[in-house]
């Protein structure tokens, strides 16, 4: 055997989390084939794999591996953990829904775990090709998950729309990679940075290339004007999937976007990039909140709210620098908790899959589902950014960053739009508690896992708001080297 092609143990070890997830997924698939009776425990097994991956992420030695295609650092570890948190929530909420819909199968946890693996690679990737493949890997998993409810049209439609848009955008992405590669001669972030520093390449083409890359990931983040898919997909896809789909890919994509922005912003091409991000942020906050205001479907409302939240996440990037990471991570973790929590509860208390999840159906259910409604309220309050919740903590850091770096206007837009946000988040709360019940819920499934998921999400949202010190220290430690 030619030693040239061998893989060192160290390199394999550096891939431990992804390997655990991949192997775990495959194992579950095999169990599905050979021991379908164990289906009910698949998700718990999946959780174990996620936990193992999380442990490996935490213990991963820092540094590049695989010829510098990926790297590990405390930063990637932090975002990876956020991804894994989302994956865990996605696993916890699903079985109830799936078994009610008679979809319980090993494919679901397998796809979720693989998707998580792809996401981790996306977080860690520092080379465009790796990023692209990781993105496609996770996207394919997500297409499958979005269409997981294969018997209903809305799920299929959501998957198809997501897929077609995703494919369309990946064509742009590849073209962007081509341009950047062609003009800089490298696909590695470092190489590109070096080339940019040298002033190599045509600025116009580079600009276009980076713009295409940025737009590709902005599409994943559902930033305006690349947002339009999100409401349709969230609404149509199975709710437990959305709990995962609406948060995890965003965490990972943000990492890539921040890397790209930092790469470009520090280069001679930098110029208008911060303004570009400010523009995207403002547009997302405005459009997201405005459109969410008029939604009557809770999933769609949360989708638009997600668009808006990604706008808030972008605020720190309007003044990019290594300091941008911290508010972004804080906001994202808060977002993972509250948004996944909201979708988790939607999963449980709405009895019908499909496109209808009217907010008005919630009327009076606050007293029927005291625990879940309480958790949903906490999530809504958190999404609205009212202290003492994680959502407020996130907004605090984001606005602080804006003020610190002279983006007061953006902060003011953020305020104005979050005021609109308050209006529609509160609508959920008043439906729950202040309206008489109009229709008894039917077909709802409240299983242990889902309840745990909801409590984790809501409790986490509260805890992060009330006592954020431990979390923030961890965040700070993650960015120590920057």
């Amino acid at each position: 055997m030619n030693p040239e092609y061998s893989v060192s143990t160290a390199e394999l070890a550096s891939l431990a989390p992804e390997i655990v997830l991949t192997v775990g997924g495959s194992l579950l698939l095999l169990l599905e084939a050979f021991a379908p009776r164990l289906r009910r425990s698949f998700h718990w097994l999946g959780l174990a794999f996620v936990a193992a991956a999380s442990w490996y992420v935490a213990t991963l030695p820092a540094g590049p591996s695989f010829a510098g295609l990926i790297e590990a650092s405390s930063l990637t570890a932090a975002f990876s953990q956020a991804v894994l948190l989302a994956a865990a929530l996605g696993l916890l909420v699903a079985p109830g829904y799936l078994s009610r819909e008679r979809l319980l199968a090993g494919e679901y946890p397998a796809l979720l775990l693989w998707c998580a693996a792809g996401l981790l690679l996306l977080v860690r990737g520092v080379e465009l090709l790796t990023l692209f493949v990781a993105l496609e890997l996770l996207s394919l998993c997500l297409y499958g998950l979005a269409g997981f409810h294969r018997r209903i049209a809305s799920s299929a439609e959501a998957a198809l729309k997501y897929f077609l848009m995703g494919a369309f955008v990946s064509a742009f992405l590849v073209y962007g990679i081509a341009l950047v590669y062609g003009e800089t001669g490298s696909t590695r972030i470092e190489g590109i940075a070096a080339a940019l520093a040298r002033g190599q390449g045509s600025p116009g083409l580079l600009l276009l290339g980076f713009l295409l890359l940025a737009c590709g990931f902005a599409f994943k983040l559902s930033l305006v004007p690349f947002h339009a898919w999100a409401p349709d997909v969230y609404q149509g896809a199975p709710s437990p999937v959305v709990a995962f789909l609406s948060v995890a890919p965003k965490v990972a994509s943000v990492v890539v976007l921040v890397r790209l922005v930092l790469l470009v912003a520090e280069s001679p091409l930098g110029g208008k990039w911060p303004d570009l991000l400010a523009l995207l942020a403002a547009a997302s906050m405005l459009v997201g909140n405005l459109f969410a205001l008029v939604q009557r479907d809770i999933k769609r409302m949360l989708a638009y709210s997600g668009i808006a939240h990604m706008g808030y996440v972008m605020i720190p990037l309007a003044a990019p620098g290594p300091h941008s990471w911290q508010p972004v991570l804080v906001y994202l973790v808060a977002y993972v908790l509250m948004n996944a929590g909201a979708f988790a509860i939607v999963t449980m208390i709405y009895g019908q899959p499909g496109e209808q999840h009217a907010i008005s159906s919630l009327a009076g259910w606050g007293y029927r589902f005291p625990l879940l409604a309480g958790c949903l309220t906490v999530c809504m309050v958190s999404l609205a950014g009212v202290p003492p919740t994680a959502g407020f903590l996130g907004k605090y850091f984001v606005f602080l960053h804006a003020i610190e770096h002279g983006r007061l206007g953006l902060a003011l837009i953020g305020i104005a739009t979050s005021l609109i946000g308050v209006a529609f988040y509160l609508r959920v709360v008043y439906m729950l508690y202040m309206k008489p019940e109009v229709a008894a819920p039917e077909g709802f499934v409240i299983d242990f896992g889902g309840r745990v998921g909801a409590v984790i999400a809501a409790g986490g949202s509260l805890l992060l708001g009330i006592w954020p010190q431990r979390f923030l220290s961890w965040v700070a430690a993650s960015f120590e080297r920057l």
């Binding site: 848009m165 955008v169 004007p225 523009l279 405005l290």
Partner: protein
């Protein structure tokens, strides 16, 4: 007993009585109510009289100040303190004595009322507040009493709360009083801001020490003294029912008659006069305001007197008479005859209380009827009420040697001496009118033949002892009260030493300012002439009344008058339409403004703007969301276009 050191108990006792009756005693315990209700003001009266005696006979004529506790702290440290000086002594005397008598009278008058306990509680409360007002050593305590009596007036006017009108009248009284109070408050603010204190004594001292401060221009071309006195006088206008704030007093007659006697004749309404005299040092420094006071007083006096001529409700007649007499007092204060003002206040307290109680007795006898058109010939049924009422009428008409003569004469003399001849003329005219309408009431009520229904006639009876004894005592006062102020001129003419007790007693509280000329003295002959003129006018008024309404003539004169001069009659009977005027000019526009604020500013403009904002926001969202067409070709186009636009934006 050292009554002086117990000064604060004088107002405290009635308060205590009010509290006990109000909170502890139960409705059924009538005897207990009576006991507490009488004991409190009675004890207060005894204490007050003793204190006055001890003060008056004391060696040092220095005002006595007793601080009970400090009300507030810091820069604005104001004590709850009481002050006994000649002025407050006179007032205390009047208030406690007349008050106590009316309390006693009430036992009989209100005996069968359901709210007996409530009544006594309120009446005691009133006594306490009134004593607070007169004994207070600073403006703040005075103001507490000032508003306190207003409150009691409100509560007692509205005593018959289950009827439509009395509570309305009470409200009117309170509100109109408040209008005055607000000016009072502003005056106090100005005083405090300028002098840093609200103590009467300190303010007087400082003004005397440096009058130029008070004379310095303040606002609107007024001096500080001018501004303050104007404000205070507006306060007095409200409380003492002067034009244009008199409108509440006639309505206040809706309360029980003893209340009218005590509050709306003898004590509370005179508080304004008391205050003006109390602050005479400032008024002396503001001659223009003093003149204004005199003018308002004179105008009120004659204005109310003309209305009184045309009223048929016995209490309304007395009410307008009160307004008119209060005008007199202000006239006196305005022309600088402060002692005369207090003198008239005191005598008026007796005879007006007596008149009201007498009318109460009449009403009691008539079973609640107040319309003089239904009365007549009552003198034979009411053997005690009639003479006392007559004495009071003679007193108010200014027939010597009854109380009213001396006080009224002194006022007119004061006006004449101050060369305010026009005012004097108005005063003398009013005196004639007073005699005329008061005797009208006497004739219509007691003379002629009975005009009421048979049941009423059957029911007629003299009131019980508990009511008539106070009448007699008050009549005694109405006869003799004037003798404490027999004019200096008369004494001297008769060859005696000056025994004008009141003048001597009150002289310490009337400030003598170096630059202010108060020394108008009339020659004895002029004084005598004036007296004769006023007596003649009073007698003339009486004679006119006798000619018009005396004997069996009854209401014929009124009917003739109404036929001949319907317009004037209507004008007078409807009190010059002043209430209607206020309603049209002030109340309704204000209510319209308020409604406008509510419906237009609040609902339409502010909320409307918010709703429009919300609507526009929602509309934007609602229109905008149709961009999410559900067709991914559009989404792809957004992406493509977005990329291109951003690229375009980036390269330019």
């Amino acid at each position: 007993m050292d009554a002086l050191s117990l000064l604060w108990w004088i107002p405290a006792l009635p308060f205590l009585g009010a509290a006990v009756n109000g909170l502890l005693v139960r409705n059924g315990q009538k005897g207990l109510v009576t006991f507490v209700g009488l004991a409190a003001p009675g004890a207060s009266m005894l204490l007050g009289l003793t204190a006055i005696w001890q003060y008056a006979t004391g060696l040092a004529p220095e005002p006595l100040r007793q601080a009970v506790y400090s009300w507030t702290v810091g820069e604005m440290s104001i004590d709850v303190a009481f002050r006994l000086d000649p002025l407050s002594a006179v007032m205390t005397f009047v208030v406690t004595v007349v008050g106590f008598l009316i309390h006693v009278y009430s036992v009989g008058y209100m005996g069968r009322e359901e709210g007996y306990r409530r009544y006594f509680s309120f009446l005691n409360l009133f006594m306490g507040a009134m004593l607070l007002l007169v004994l207070g050593s600073n403006f703040l305590v005075m103001f507490v009493g000032w508003e306190g009596v207003g409150l009691c007036s409100y509560l007692l006017i509205g005593y018959y709360f289950d009827q439509e009108f009395p509570p309305e009248a009470g409200k009117k009284a309170f509100v109109v009083n408040r209008i005055g109070d607000f000016a009072f408050l502003v005056g106090m603010l100005a005083l405090f801001a300028s002098f840093g204190t609200l103590e009467f004594g300190e303010i007087t001292e400082r003004v005397l020490a440096a009058p130029e401060i008070a004379k310095a221009p303040y606002v609107f071309g007024l001096s500080l003294a001018g501004f303050v006195t104007l404000c205070l006088f507006i306060g007095a206008m409200g409380k003492s029912a002067q034009i244009p704030l008199y409108v509440w007093l006639p309505d206040a007659m809706a309360g029980p008659t003893p209340v009218s006697a005590l509050i709306h004749a003898a004590t509370m309404v005179t508080a304004g006069v008391y205050m003006v005299v109390r602050t005479n040092v400032l008024y002396q420094l503001a001659p223009e305001i003093s003149l204004f006071v005199a003018g308002i007083g004179a105008a009120t006096a004659i204005f109310a007197a003309t209305i009184g001529l045309a009223q048929n409700d016995i209490k309304k007649v007395l009410a307008y008479s009160t307004v008119s007499q209060l005008g007199y007092m202000f006239l006196a204060a305005g022309v600088g005859a402060y002692v005369a003002a207090i003198f008239h206040l005191a005598t008026h307290a007796f005879f007006k209380a007596l008149l009201f109680l007498g009318s109460g007795s009449v009403i009691h006898a008539m079973g609640g009827e107040q319309d003089m058109q239904k009365m007549g010939g009552l003198r034979k049924h009411l053997p005690l009420t009639y003479p006392t009422y007559l004495i009071a009428t003679l007193a108010i008409a200014g027939i010597p040697p009854l109380a009213g003569f001396f006080s009224k004469d002194e006022i007119l003399a004061g006006a004449f001496a101050g060369h305010h001849h026009l005012i004097w003329g108005v005063g003398i005219l009013t005196a004639g009118l007073t005699a005329c309408y008061m005797f009208r009431s006497v004739y219509l009520t007691f003379h002629g033949s009975f005009r009421g229904s048979h049941e009423q006639e059957h029911h007629l009876h003299e009131s019980p002892k508990v009511m008539t004894v106070p009448l007699v005592l008050l009549a005694l006062g109405a006869v003799t009260a004037g003798w404490i102020g027999i004019p200096t001129g008369l004494w001297e003419m008769a060859g005696f030493a000056d025994h004008n007790v009141l003048h001597h007693f009150l002289s310490p509280v009337i400030a003598t300012l170096p630059g202010v000329d108060t020394g108008h003295h009339l020659s004895h002959s002029t004084e005598l002439l004036l007296m004769l003129v006023s007596v003649a006018v009073a007698l003339g008024g009486w004679l006119v009344a006798k000619r018009l309404w005396g004997g069996e003539r009854g209401l014929a004169a009124d009917r003739t008058f109404a036929e001949r001069l319907p317009f004037v009659q209507r004008l007078l009977a409807n009190k010059y339409y002043v209430d209607e005027l206020y309603d049209r000019v002030i109340v309704r526009p204000l209510a319209g403004l308020a409604r406008g604020c509510w419906k237009i500013v609040d609902t339409l403009l502010i909320d409307g703007a918010l709703h429009v904002g919300a609507f526009v926001t929602e509309l934007t969202g609602d229109l905008g969301r149709f961009s999410t067409t559900g067709n991914i070709r559009n989404y792809a186009l957004y992406f493509f276009a977005g990329v291109l636009l951003l690229f375009w934006w980036m390269i330019f």
